[in-house]
């Protein structure tokens, strides 16, 4: 086997798992159609594919193998050619799959010329990735530049399209799409040439390879403030906080830029509301701003969660910290707290203050604030930050953690979906555990109503045990020395996956998926007796014998006595009192219009007051 083939195999092996993740995310809408998978396919196509293009060179910086690679007995151009061949094979196949997901499932009505424009946009970003990665000397740096690049394209697209919805459905003028395609292709070729030239002239200076991301960007902090962030000879606790804040420096710079951009958009009436993702504007420029700000405020928590620990792991300072006389628990807690605060500040608190400030200038402080969505947005930001932090604890380095940030929550989501589905299927055949409990012990069917209503109101509780376990696990992983393998990550994910499946299944089969309607079934059985005309007295067994009741309802009524009296005020209505075997008394009021009210009270010698312990249904 020639040396060239060996090197190309090495490239392919390094790209395999990221390629697999991007392709899987892109293909997801083809097999599982929901809003989450649609968003993932968009991320896969517009972000994942360019990142894939940045990885082959980024990995050399990340793994400090650049010198080794460049000293191989081959010309730099040959090495470049090998890397680009593998990269383009991976990128094109991934783009083909995720493009199919985007254009046929996520955006099925998009017009052909817009598809071409989107492909050109991704092609240009992909072709630029090697040059930008070489210029930034890191994957993350390259990715940040690609993001800026995509952002410009969004703004440009926003300016081209006068009205978004109509524009996406109508074709672009032939001259425009031809110009975009020709320009895009020329630009892509030029960027590739620039990349090759950059590699040919690259100087391996031998400085700290890991310093690039943490040292990039201008020094914008005034000296007085910078002095506060400088570590002191005493005060270990504050020094750890200072260090954490400094590790997030690139993140703060991005946040600053995003906030300026947000203020600008709000000032010139281009912002609809904050949280940004709540309303999608129709107009083109506002849509472009919506996309870019939305992307930033969604990615910022991820960045906040992974950057600090990811960079420490990459540089080796984290293992060294573990040998210092500071409790690892304290180190972990400070890191987590700062990450959560940074995510919250960048995506909730600071943007909120900015839009309130701009609103105050314009006369109405809260004109941009959408309070209805704020709570959900805060929860989303906190969960995303924590998920990113968990990935940083489990993975070895920033890039690996970033790659897992999309995959890990997706796995948990799938686990929850699968568990719930299994629970539903079981509940459909046997009834839920709650149904069995109520029917066996002849309890009030309204017992779990409040819990069921709560669980249906928000799905977050489905992840509470997973989050608790992830919190404990993150500390354990923080202390561990992670391996650079997908198997290790899967091992870390497995307990969370299992707990999510079990919890979702238990909740679903326990009481959430209950479709048992004992009052409805009783009422339907009583209706057949035409109870609006005379008083009826019968047992539960009598009623069950003459109607098609489900097994739990028959069981529930076993040993009960039922008294039915016509409603004097409403001719076709009636009232039924069911004395259950447990001693519980359930009342059923059926109105002439067909409406039913039900309540259950414990039978007692004292007569209960009207309305006491009553639940309407």
């Amino acid at each position: 086997m020639s040396a060239s083939i060996v090197r190309m195999k090495k490239e392919a092996r390094a790209l395999f798992w990221p390629w697999f993740a991007v392709t899987l995310a892109g293909a997801l809408p083809l097999v599982l159609l929901n809003s989450y998978s649609k968003k993932l396919s968009l991320l896969s196509f517009f972000i994942g594919v360019p990142v894939l293009a940045a990885l082959p060179l980024g990995n050399e910086f990340q793994q400090k193998t650049l010198t080794l690679w460049l000293t191989q007995p081959a010309s730099r151009m040959q090495l470049w050619g090998e890397k680009m061949s593998v990269m383009f094979a991976a990128v094109l196949s991934a783009a083909l799959v995720s493009g199919s997901g985007v254009f046929y499932i996520t955006w099925p009505r998009i017009e052909l010329t817009w598809k071409v424009a989107a492909i050109v946009c991704v092609l240009v970003a992909t072709a630029s990735a090697p040059y930008l990665t070489l210029a930034a000397r890191s994957t993350i740096g390259g990715f940040a530049q690609i993001s800026c690049y995509l952002f410009s394209v969004f703004v440009l697209a926003g300016n081209i399209a006068p009205h978004r919805d109509e524009a996406l459905a109508a074709s672009l003028p032939a001259a425009t799409i031809t110009a975009i395609s020709v320009f895009g292709l020329c630009f892509a070729v030029w960027m590739l040439w620039l990349g090759a030239r950059k590699l040919a002239r690259l100087q391996v200076t031998g400085g700290s390879d890991d310093a690039d991301l943490l040292m990039t960007g201008p020094e914008v902090m005034p000296e007085a403030l910078a002095g506060w962030f400088r570590c002191r000879p005493s005060g270990a606790f504050f020094n750890l906080i200072r260090k954490e804040l400094r590790l997030l420096r690139p993140f703060w710079l991005f946040t600053l830029l995003a906030l300026l951009y947000l203020a600008f958009a709000a000032m010139f009436g281009l912002l609809q509301a904050f949280p940004i993702a709540t309303r999608q504007p129709a107009a083109s420029v506002e849509f472009a701003i919506f996309c870019t700000l939305g992307s930033f405020f969604l990615l910022a928590p991820v960045f906040a969660g992974i950057l600090s620990l990811g960079e420490e792991r990459t540089s080796g300072t984290q293992a060294w910290h573990m040998t210092l006389p500071v409790s690892p628990l304290r180190q972990w807690f400070i890191k987590l707290a700062i990450a959560m605060l940074a995510g919250f500040a960048s995506s909730v608190l600071l943007p909120l203050l900015v839009v309130i400030a701009v609103g105050s200038v314009l006369g109405s402080p809260f004109m941009f604030v959408d309070f209805r969505e704020l709570r959900d947005w805060m929860i989303l930001v906190l969960i995303m930050t924590f998920a990113a932090f968990w990935c940083a604890c489990a993975a070895n380095g920033t890039v690996r953690a970033a790659l897992w940030v999309a995959a890990a929550p997706m796995a948990i989501y799938l686990a929850s979906f699968g568990g719930t589905k299994l629970g539903q299927d079981l509940a459909r055949t046997t009834g839920t555990a709650g149904d069995l409990l109520l029917s066996w012990f002849h309890l009030s069917p309204l017992t779990f109503t409040a819990i069921a209503d709560f669980t249906r109101a928000g799905g977050l509780w489905l992840f509470v045990p997973t989050l608790l376990l992830a919190l404990i696990q993150s500390y354990r992983l923080f202390r561990a020395q992670p391996e650079d393998t997908a198997r290790w990550m899967l091992q870390c994910l497995m307990p969370l996956f299992a707990v999510t499946v079990l919890w979702s299944f238990s909740a679903s089969a326990g009481f959430v998926s209950s479709s048992w309607e004992p009052f409805l079934e009783t009422r339907q059985a009583l209706d057949k007796l035409q109870p609006g005309t005379a008083k009826i007295e019968l047992t539960g067994e009598d009623l069950a014998r003459n109607s098609l009741m489900t097994a739990p309802t028959r069981r529930w009524l076993r040993g009960s006595s039922i008294f039915v009296t016509p409603d004097k005020d409403h001719p076709s209505g009636y009232r039924a009192t069911i004395h259950l075997a447990s001693g519980l008394e359930c009342r059923l009021i059926v109105a002439h219009s067909g409406g039913t009210a039900a309540s259950c009270v414990r039978s007692s010698p004292r007569k209960s007051l009207p309305g006491q312990n009553q639940n309407a249904r």
């Binding site: 700290s208 040292m215 020094n239 400094r246 420096r249 080796g316 293992a319 210092l324 020395q481």
Partner: protein, 297 residues
Amino acid sequence: MNSPTPVIQIENLAYAYGKAEAIHDLSLRVQPGRCYGLFGRNGAGKTTTMKCLLNLLSPQRGQVRVFGLDPAKAEVGVKRRLAYVPDQVAFYPWMSVRETLDYLASFRERWNRKTEQELLDHFRLDPSKRTNALSKGQRTQLALLAAICPEPDLLVLDEPTSGLDPIVRREFVETVIGAYQDGNSGNRTILVSTHLITEFEGLIDEFTIIDQGHSVLALEADEARERFQKIRARFAPSPPELDFPTALRVRRNGRELELIANGAGPELMERLRQHNPEALSTEALTLEEIFVAALKS
């Protein structure tokens, strides 16, 4: 009289990375004030042993005690009394040398500013220079400096001299380490792992040679020098064809015969003397020669 609590006590330690066994049934004991060498080839298990001592890895079998404490249970208490220099030194790139030292000093109860200044001058390190601008050797110097200034009871050094130029390397061993131990003689202990044994020859009191996770040889340095001897005999005609089963190595070079003895020196000398050699001499092996002989045998 009871012997003092060992600074390090390892008993039947075992650790494996997946199926690859890194350490197997390793036992050693380091008394206070000693300089203990952990010698072995690359991948022998030296770093893994040190990581178990520092609670960076949890032993899969066996027991580890540092200052009589379990590092997993009394983690901070143990780390407060030791300093570690890893084989791969890393610092925060934005921090200057000064800030790095201040940062590390903040975690310590003691920090000798005088020693710090002396070593900064000695290594010619510019305190205002950022750590990302330091060379690999300078970074190692900074790590050594940061480990010595808190005056710990135990100094754990993992390949401390890699990346240092020969002059600094010699100065480091003779001046820095020597001065560190002289500071509180009898109480300051060093555990050093290295394969550059020659530099530590004069400092090592006791050592263990590890090979593929197994302890091959554990001895006091002086005892080792007594046991391992190089015997040279020159004969007028060619050396007699003799069999030396108790010798570790036998080499014939013209009229000369060279034997490496492991404890059987007097017996071998006596046998050689019976053949009337022209010259017969013996000399103690250096630790590096003992290391090579132990691994080759």
